[in-house]
């Protein structure tokens, strides 16, 4: 995985597999603390404490019959390579919150990558899920709640051509504006 946005896309797929219908994605860049924090929260099926341990450290834990994945360990490694960390809180039947902290200016930090395209592919492929996306750089913020968009659209699909193109521009503009830093 070469970009943090791709890890995010991957971790969100876990929330979708866990049957979440509300998923929050926060990307918080704090130049003073020199951190880039990613928080992915969902209201999916959650995990038991015992299972969670295996998920975070599949290589140090005794292998079970259950398949162990790569998504979370890769994300954890990417964060730890920058002096950061990954933490997961989860409760069966309630949901899961994955928090990864990266060293913002660390030389080994992967670029954030294409957040606009990442969120676009999620919004349009999973219309029935409410996504709450927040990208913050210091005090500047770009926030999208897909429920607001859905309320405007009614039963028109996010994939209707004009709607898709609007969403694509909307996300690109939001990200661009956020990245235009005051001199």
């Amino acid at each position: 995985m070469r970009e943090i946005s791709l890890h995010i896309l991957d971790i969100v797929q876990n929330s979708i597999a866990a049957k979440a219908d509300e998923i929050g994605v926060d990307v918080i860049e704090d130049r003073e603390k020199d951190t880039l924090t990613v928080v992915i929260g969902d209201n999916g099926c959650g995990m038991s404490a015992e299972f969670l341990k295996k998920v975070i450290d599949p290589f140090t834990t005794k292998r079970t019959t259950r398949k162990v994945g790569l998504g979370i360990p890769l994300f954890k490694m990417a964060a730890e390579n920058t002096g950061g960390s990954l933490e997961i809180q989860s409760k069966e039947g309630e949901g899961t919150v994955v928090t990864a902290v990266f060293g913002l200016s660390h030389i080994d930090r992967q670029p954030l990558g294409d957040m606009a395209g990442t969120m676009l592919s999620l919004f349009t492929a999973y219309e029935d899920i409410r996504f709450l996306y927040k990208h913050k750089i210091d005090e500047k913020k770009f926030f999208v709640d897909t429920r607001e968009i859905k309320n405007v659209l009614g039963d028109i699909s996010f994939q209707a051509p004009e709607v898709y193109l609007w969403l694509s521009e909307f996300l690109k503009e939001g990200e661009e504006e956020l990245n235009q830093m005051e001199v």
Partner: protein, 121 residues
């Protein structure tokens, strides 16, 4: 800045067009989006497919994602399901091939054989 008011105008224009997700006659394009697929470049492929569909105004096409399709070394994998026809599986797709799949297979109805799983094996 794009506004929700603008979206409302689009909505009013699009009213009457079908909601693809509930339409059994839609062409379905499915992209494998498990860790292996994403690492191999499935995200730009997904974006390219959707953008091409939107730009060509193909409102009978639904692009969706799925988990692991099971052949990691051939990712990114794209499946095309046209109602009444056999499923076609494209492998090692990139954004350029994705655009070609839309113009050839979806628009012109000609399977792009050289990118199919059969050609790769």
């Amino acid at each position: 800045m794009k506004s929700l008011a603008e979206l409302e105008a689009i909505r009013n224009k699009a009213k009457g067009s079908v909601n693809l997700r509930k339409d059994d006659n839609a062409v379905r394009i499915v992209v494998g989006m498990a860790t292996c697929g994403i690492a191999a470049g499935a995200k730009p492929v997904m974006n390219a497919l959707m953008e091409e569909v939107a730009k060509r105004n193909l409102d009978h096409v639904a692009v969706t994602q799925t988990g692991c399709i099971g052949v990691c070394r051939l990712e990114p994998i794209v499946e095309v399901m046209v109602p009444g026809e056999e499923k076609v599986t494209y492998v090692k797709v990139d954004p350029k091939k994705a655009a070609e799949i839309i113009s050839e297979h979806i628009v012109n109805g000609r399977v792009v054989t050289k990118y199919t799983i059969g050609a790769a094996q």
